[in-house]
Amino acid sequence: MDSRRCQVRVADTALELLPERALYWPETETLAVADLHWGKTESFQQHGIPLPTGVLEDDLARLSAALTSTGARRLLLLGDLIHSREGITPALVERLARWREAHAHVACVLVRGNHDRHLKTLPESWRLEVRETHADEGPFRFAHHPEPAPGRYVWAGHLHPMVRLGGRGDTLRLPCFHVGPGVGVLPAFSAFTGGANVSRRAGDRIFAIASPAVVEV
C-alpha cells in the first residue's frame, strides 16, 4: 500500500485518496476525478491571452500515473471535463484521442458538468460513455454538483475545494478533499484552476494535498 495515499472508510466502504487528486475505490477498481477543464489554456489563447502550454501534458501524465499505479479498469470523470467549446481545437482533440488510445482498456464514464453543456457531442475518438446528471453505484452517487442524495453518499466536484493552513503569517493554501457526512467533494484535477476555501462544519474531514502526499488536517 502506498503511504502517500490516505485510507478512508465512507459508507462502510474502503476508499483511497490519492495525491494525484483522485479518488480510488479498490473493490470495483474505479478511479474518480473531477474538473479536468480540458482546453482551458486554448480558450485563453483564443481570447488573445498569451498563456504557455504544458498544463495539459502535466495533467495527463498525472492521470496516467494514477491509472497505472492503481491498476484501475474504470475511470469516472465527474464533470467539467472540458472548459469551453472554443478551447476544443483540432490539435487538442487529436492529442486527447492519443492519450485515450494509450489507456484503451480503461472504461471512461463522463458525468456532465456545467462546463460540459457547451459541447453537445464529445469527439468520438475519446470513447466516453456519457451520463447527464449522475451515476449511482453501490452505496455511492457520482455527480458533478455536490447535492445530497437521500440514501446514498455523494461524490462530486464543481467547487474546487482549497484549504488554508496555518496562521500568523505562515499560511499555505492547498487543494483538498472535503469529506462531509453525506457529500464528499474532490479537488479540481487540473493544475490550472483556482479554488474556493472550504469552511469546516461538524463531522467534516479535510484531506490536503501536500504533494507528494495526502494529509488529513
Binding site: Q45, I49, P50, T171, L172, G194, S211, V217
Partner: protein, 861 residues
C-alpha cells in the same frame, strides 16, 4: 505667439501646415453637426481686430482680474512661442495652469484652425470639469470660437461619438482616455493638427506606470504632429531635470521654467495630553479625535487628510458622532465613493456650504478649493513633498501662508512629525523615480498602436525609444514584446488560434473585434485593482470597493462605507449588494495599496531626530510629548542612534524574536527582512515569520536561534545582493503580487467590469494562478522577469536597499536582549502580517501547523 511677430510669417506657417496636412492625409470627412463653430464669423472678427494680438488681450484679461503676470508666466509664454518644450515648476496655487495654457491658447486664437490644437492631460478625471471651467474663462476676451471640451471615462457616449468624428480645438483628458483615443482607426488624422500638449501634475504621474503609458502616448503624438510642444507642470521634486526629460522625450532639450514662489508653511502639532508607553497603530486615534472635534471650527473651512480610506471612514464617523450639530456641514471624500457624491462634496466645499471634509489623497490634487483655510493631517504625512502639497491646499493663493495641523495617531508619530517639521525647514523634498521600460505597458501600447491605424515594427521601435522611459529598450526586448502580442510568446508558435495583433500588408493591426473591445476596456486598468460596484438591494449606487475586500466578506458581515453602516448580502456580476445594517458594525473596508512607506527624506530626518533624543535633546514639543515612550525605550533598551544599528532579541510565548530598527520605510524593510531571513536560514535551518513597519523589522522563529552569534556585518554584505533578493522573493509571495498588476496591464487578465464579466467568464483566471502557470511552463517569460525587477526596483526601492545595507554593514551593532518587546518592537508584534519564508519541507510545515492547531484546540476546550 508674442505680440510683435509679423502677421505674414504666421500666415506662412499656417499655410505650410495646411499644405502639409493636405499632402499627407486624406481629407477629413465632414462632421454631420458642428457645435458652436460657425465658420465665417471668426475670419471677419480677426480682420476687424488686427491691432491687438491675442496674448496681449489675455494680458489685459489678467489685469482685469487684478493680477499681474509673474516673470515665470511671461517666460513660459515666450518659450512656447519659440517652439520649445519643457517643464514648469512652481508651487501649487501660483498660477502654473495659465503659465502653460495662455501661450498655446493665444496661438490657437491667432491661427484659428479647425481640429484638435491643444491637449490638456490631467491625472484625475474628477477635476476635468474644473479644469474645463478654468480653461474657458479667458475665452471671452479672445472673442474667438474656440471649443473647449473634456473627454474622460465619465464622458457620455453621445459626446464621445461626436468627438470621434471631430475633436474640439482644446481637449481636456486623462492619460487613459488619451490612449483610448489613440486606438481610433483614424488616430493619425485626429491628432495631426495638434500644436501643444500640457501635462498637469506631472510629478504625480512620473513615478508610476501611468507616467510610462503617457510617455509612450506622447511619443505617438509627436509622430502624428511633428513640431508638437510638450509642457509639463510639476510641484517641487528633487529630480526636476529627469522629470523634464521624461516629459519632452529624448529628441529635444527641455526648458525648465521655475519660480521661487514657495509659500511659507506653518506647521503645528496637536499634542496628546498623555501617551501610553506601549503605542500601536491607531491607539491614540480616539482620544485625538475628540481633541480635533473641539479644535475644529465650522466657521473656518477645513480639509482633514488621512492616509487611508478606512481611516477616513473612521474619522468621518467619529467626527459626526462628536459633533452631531454639524451633520450638514461635514462630508467624506475618497476615491471609492460614487462620483456624483464626490462632485457634490467638491461643489459644497467650493461654495462654502460644506465646511469640514474628511478626505484621502483624493483631494491632494486638482484645482482650487478657494475657501479652504486650514488643513489637518491625521497620522504621519510619510513624506515632505506630500506635506507641502497638502498644506498647499489651504489658502490657495500665491504668497499666502499655508497652515497644516499634524494629528498623531500613535505616540511614535510624534517623532515623525518632529522630524517632518525639521525636514520641511530644510526643504528636503523627495525625488520620484520613473519606472524603467515596463514591458507590460509596452505590450498594451503595441496593441493600442495596432488598433490605431497599425504600425510597422521598425518605425514603432524607434518611436518608442524616443520616450525617455524606454530609451534603453533593446531590440530583443522589443521583439519579445511584439511576439507576446503577435504570437503569444515564443512557446506558443504552434498555436494558430492565438491572435491579438496580426500582420496585414506589412502592418501590424488588430483584426478581431473582440480583441479590440477587450483592449479598450483594459486600458484604464493601470490605475486600479479589480473593483466591484456597491449597491443597495433596493437600488441606489454607493461607490466601489476592491474585489479582494468583498471576497473576504461573508453574507451578514457588517461594515462602514461612505459613512453608512451596511450589511453585506451577496455578490453577483461584479456588484456587491448590501442593505442598511441593524447590528453593530464590525469593520471598515481595507483597501489595497493604501499604505505609503516613509519617504527617504523623512526617514533620514526621523533618524536624525531620534539621535538627538538619545543625546537628551528633547527641545521640540513633539518629542517632549512623546517622552514617555522614548523614556521606556531608553529604559528597556536604547533609543536608536543615527549611525548605530539597534537590534533587540526577546523570547515570548510566540517564539524567539529579533527586532532591528534601520528606520528606512516599510518597503525597504520588507526586502531587508526577506534577505536576512534567507541568509540566516543558510547558516541554520529555521522558519521565520516576518513583520515590518516603517521603523524596523521583526524575525520570529518558533525554535531558539543563535541571533547573537550570527548577527555579523557580513550578514549585510552587498555581495550577491540581487541573487539573494531574487531568491528570497521567489520563495515569498512578492513577485506574485507584483505580477498581478503586470498581468492586468499586459492584458493577460481581462478587465473585471460589469457586463464584460458575463461574456468572458470562460477566460477568467486569477493573476496568481497565471503566475504559477508561467513560472512552471515558461519561466523565462519577460513579464516574470519584469515582475522580479519591479519587486527589486519599486517594492524594495532597490537603490535604497543597497544604500541601507551599506550603512548597516558599516554601522556598529548594538545588540540587546530584552525581557519583552520594547515600545519600538511592540507595534511590529501587533502588526505581524507578512510573508513567510521557510527552508523546511512542505510536509514538515503542515505537520507543525497541525500540532499548533491541536494544542490551541486543547487549550480552548
Amino acid at each position: 505667439m508674442p505680440a510683435g511677430r509679423p502677421r505674414s510669417l504666421r500666415a506662412q506657417i499656417a499655410a505650410s501646415r495646411k499644405a502639409l496636412r493636405a499632402a499627407t492625409e486624406p481629407p477629413a470627412p465632414q462632421a454631420p453637426r458642428e457645435p458652436r463653430r460657425p465658420r465665417g464669423r471668426r475670419t471677419a472678427r480677426t480682420q476687424a481686430e488686427t491691432q491687438q494680438a491675442p496674448l496681449d488681450r489675455l494680458r489685459g484679461w489678467f489685469h482685469e482680474k487684478g493680477w499681474t503676470p509673474y516673470p515665470f508666466q511671461e517666460e513660459a509664454w515666450a518659450a512656447h512661442a519659440r517652439g520649445e518644450s519643457g517643464l514648469i515648476h512652481v508651487p501649487t496655487g501660483a498660477g502654473k495652469t495659465y503659465a502653460a495654457y495662455l501661450g498655446p491658447l493665444a496661438e490657437v486664437a491667432e491661427q484659428g484652425q479647425p481640429g484638435l490644437q491643444l491637449l490638456y492631460v490631467t491625472p484625475l478625471r474628477a477635476v476635468s470639469r474644473d479644469v474645463e471651467k478654468a480653461l474657458r474663462e479667458p475665452l471671452d476676451v479672445l472673442d474667438a470660437d474656440i471649443a473647449v471640451e473634456s473627454r474622460t471615462g465619465d464622458t457620455s457616449s453621445s459626446v464621445r461619438q461626436r468627438q470621434r468624428e471631430r475633436l474640439p480645438q482644446v481637449l481636456i483628458t486623462t492619460p487613459e482616455s488619451l490612449c483610448v483615443l489613440l486606438t481610433h482607426e483614424r488616430a493619425a488624422e485626429l491628432f495631426a493638427s495638434l500644436r501643444s500638449v500640457i501635462v498637469d501634475e506631472w510629478h504625480e504621474l512620473l513615478g508610476s506606470k501611468r507616467g510610462s503609458q503617457l510617455e509612450l502616448a506622447l511619443a505617438r503624438l509627436r509622430k502624428f504632429a511633428p513640431g508638437l510642444r510638450t509642457w509639463a507642470l510639476s510641484a517641487t521634486l528633487a529630480n526636476l531635470e529627469e522629470a523634464a526629460r521624461h516629459a519632452v522625450g529624448t529628441h529635444q532639450t527641455p526648458t525648465v521654467v521655475s519660480a521661487s514662489l514657495e509659500r511659507p508653511v506653518a506647521v503645528e502639532t496637536l499634542l496628546p495630553e498623555s501617551v501610553d508607553a506601549f503605542p500601536w497603530a491607531g491607539h491614540l486615534g480616539f482620544s485625538m479625535l475628540a481633541r480635533v472635534a473641539t479644535w475644529l471650527d465650522a466657521e473656518r473651512s477645513t480639509l482633514i487628510f488621512t492616509n487611508t480610506r478606512s481611516q477616513a471612514e473612521r474619522w468621518f464617523e467619529g467626527l459626526r458622532f462628536a459633533r452631531p450639530e454639524w451633520e450638514h456641514l461635514i462630508a467624506l471624500h475618497h476615491g471609492s465613493i460614487d462620483r456624483e457624491e464626490r462632485e457634490r462634496v467638491e461643489g459644497g466645499l467650493k461654495e462654502g456650504s460644506l465646511r469640514i471634509v474628511v478626505c484621502t489623497s483624493s483631494l491632494d490634487l486638482g484645482v482650487d478649493f478657494g475657501p479652504v483655510e486650514r488643513v489637518v493631517q491625521v497620522g504621519s504625512p510619510k513624506g515632505i513633498g506630500r506635506t507641502m502639497q497638502r498644506a498647499g491646499r489651504s489658502a490657495h493663493r500665491p504668497g499666502a501662508t499655508c497652515h497644516i495641523l499634524f494629528v498623531p495617531t500613535h505616540a511614535l508619530e510624534l517623532v515623525e512629525m518632529a522630524a517632518a517639521k525639521d525636514a520641511l525647514l530644510r526643504r528636503e523634498v523627495e525625488a520620484r523615480a520613473p519606472p524603467r521600460k515596463p514591458l507590460d505597458v509596452l505590450a498594451q501600447h503595441l496593441v493600442t498602436c495596432a488598433l490605431g491605424g497599425g504600425f510597422t515594427p521598425d518605425a514603432l521601435r524607434d518611436e518608442v525609444r524616443t520616450a525617455a522611459a524606454f530609451s534603453s529598450l533593446t531590440d530583443e526586448e522589443f521583439a519579445w514584446t511584439l511576439s507576446l502580442v503577435r504570437e503569444g510568446s515564443p512557446t506558443l508558435r504552434a498555436y494558430p488560434e492565438f491572435r491579438r495583433v496580426v500582420e496585414h500588408e506589412g502592418r501590424c493591426v488588430v483584426a478581431d473585434a473582440r480583441v479590440a473591445r477587450m483592449h479598450r476596456l483594459n486600458i484604464g486598468t493601470i490605475t486600479s485593482d479589480a473593483v466591484v460596484q456597491l449597491r443597495y438591494w433596493s437600488g441606489g449606487r454607493l461607490g466601489s470597493v476592491e474585489e479582494s475586500y468583498v471576497s473576504r466578506l461573508k453574507p451578514g458581515d457588517t461594515f462602514i462605507f461612505a459613512g453608512k453602516k451596511l450589511e453585506f448580502s451577496r455578490i453577483q456580476d461584479m456588484t456587491a449588494y448590501v442593505r442598511p445594517a441593524k447590528t453593530k458594525v464590525t469593520q471598515t473596508p481595507r483597501w489595497g495599496g493604501s499604505r505609503l512607506p516613509l519617504s527617504s527624506s523623512l526617514a533620514a530626518a526621523v533618524r536624525r531626530t531620534l539621535d538627538a533624543a538619545r543625546q537628551g535633546d528633547v527641545t521640540s514639543d513633539e518629542l517632549a510629548a512623546a517622552w514617555p515612550v522614548l523614556d521606556a525605550q531608553a529604559r528597556l533598551s536604547r533609543i536608536p542612534a543615527a549611525d548605530i544599528l539597534l537590534a533587540e532579541t526577546c523570547q515570548t510565548r510566540d517564539g524567539h524574536h529579533l527586532f532591528l530598527y534601520p528606520f528606512e520605510g516599510r518597503l525597504v524593510h520588507e526586502g531587508l527582512a526577506a534577505l536576512l531571513a534567507l541568509r540566516l536560514t543558510r547558516l541554520r535551518k529555521a522558519t521565520f515569520t516576518l513583520s515590518v513597519n516603517d521603523y524596523g523589522l521583526e524575525l520570529l522563529t518558533p525554535a531558539p536561534f543563535p541571533f547573537d552569534a550570527v548577527l555579523q556585518p557580513s550578514l549585510f554584505t552587498r555581495e550577491r545582493l540581487e541573487a539573494d533578493v531574487l531568491e528570497s522573493v521567489n520563495v515569498g509571495e512578492l513577485s506574485k503580487r507584483q505580477f498581478r498588476d503586470i498581468a492586468r496591464i499586459a492584458g493577460l487578465v481581462l478587465p473585471g467590469l460589469p457586463g464584460a464579466r458575463k461574456s468572458s467568464r470562460q477566460v477568467q483566471a486569477s493573476a496568481s494562478l497565471l503566475h504559477d502557470v508561467f513560472l512552471k511552463y515558461d519561466p523565462d517569460n519577460l513579464l516574470l522577469v519584469q515582475a522580479r525587477r519591479e519587486v527589486l526596483e519599486q517594492q524594495f526601492e532597490e537603490g535604497r536597499l543597497e544604500r541601507t545595507l551599506e550603512r548597516l554593514q558599516a554601522a556598529p551593532l548594538e545588540l540587546l536582549h530584552v525581557r519583552r518587546p520594547t515600545p519600538l518592537g511592540f507595534p511590529l508584534v501587533v502588526e505581524r502580517i507578512s510573508a513567510s519564508l521557510s527552508s523546511e519541507s512542505l510536509l514538515e510545515r503542515v505537520e507543525r501547523m497541525k500540532e499548533r492547531w491541536t494544542r490551541e484546540d486543547a487549550r480552548s476546550a
